[in-house]
Amino acid sequence: MSKHETPLMDELENGPWPSFVSDLKRQAEKSPQCWDIIGQMELSFKDRMTHWKHGGIVGVFGYGGGIIGRYSDVPDQFPGVAHFHTVRLNQPSSKFYRTDLLRKLCDLWEKRGSGMTNMHGSTGDLILLGTKTEELEPLFYDLTHDLQWDLGGSGSNLRTPECCVGKARCEWSCFDTQALCYGLTMKYQDEIHRPAFPYKFKIKFSGCANDCVSALARADLSVIGTWRDNIRINQAEVKNYLNGASKSGGGAIPSRADKFNIKAEVLDLCPTGCMWMEGDTLKIDDAECTRCMHCLNVMPKALRPGVEQGASIMMGAKAPILEGAQLGTMIIPFLKVDPETEFEEVVEIIEKCWDYWMEHGKNRERLGETMQRIGLPTFLRVMEIEPLPQHIKEPRSNPYVFWREEEVEGGWQRDIKEFRKKHAQ
């Protein structure tokens, strides 16, 4: 294979940032098919269209996910990428790796594929970019036998669950995101490896509302840490922020760090306006606080999450296909996340929503689209959840109240004659 003329791709090496084109060229010395990736991308830039075809029946025996068939639609020009399948690997919780394992993985991938990786894909998996159909089974054998490493989800499967760094490194984490992510990954192996649903289903876990894995924007079901008692305030530390001894936001924004203004940076930015100062004492009306994390982010030494910790569950986030992008809808404001019970509270909710969606979701309809179609009141009834103030998005504009028959004494059956008698003129 020879190097192609790629003036447009070469442009991408000129900026001050690291360039994937330079990486591809370096890798091409060992894996010549990388020249063809660059060549095909150059052609795509010129033609203003992709030359990748995706989809197919490729996979490894017994699995219905984790491998995505990719083919070039110009294989004669770029034979090195005629087949160039993507492999998704289930990343470890919070993406902590052992260096020896990564070295072994890189060696294996240079032997069985292009040597190019994507750390990480948007679902969270470690992605191996590009191999041939005949390499898939040997690669899978070595991955699972030598590295004890499994594939992740794709297609209409449960996608690889993903979590933030959680209690491993973050003091804000209100539950053990890694334990829950690992526990559910192991529990739902069948759903991850074989198609189970009308469409993809993503579950993501963030330890607090900072939501470092963007669960709220991406996951059909997000579990986001929160607390239900009061924010813990250390008033002595509040004074240290006021007198400049502590830097706001840990000094992350240097232009602001030296002139901390609690009114401008905290009180006025609290979305519910539930904070005020009495002299130099900070007050919070916790009943009004939405646990947004803003004030804790600005004054981490002075404010900490409460001690009664757990998580909120939101459902129905998705990217734009069909009705447009959608954030998750609050379904359960607070629940305990308890490893002692094998997370039975979370499991019960997940399975109740799967049972409904598997039966009533349309083909290629994300959970959020099903929810939109049937409406939140119906969805809450399906989930057997009483409507709560937290479910309300805006004051009602429809003055009618619709009752269901079982909510009305005597149902719809009436003795009309008896009723009319009372109103007889």
Partner: protein, 76 residues
Amino acid sequence: MALSVDELKEKILEKALKGPKAQLYVKDFYACDPESKPRVIKNAANELVKEGKMVFWSSGSTTMYAAKGRAKDEEK
């Protein structure tokens, strides 16, 4: 009464082999037995893949089923 797993598999395979559509979503098999739960039908279809009688066809974002030999681009 719901069909047994073997009866269900037979009906699913028949639909995959003879139905007008070559590639089907798992939901398309629900009609094979309205009495069976979606999860049971999904498991029966997945067993047929394990037995080599059906294949998965995946676009990457969604997955469909086809009888062996009927999937799009199967020669690849």
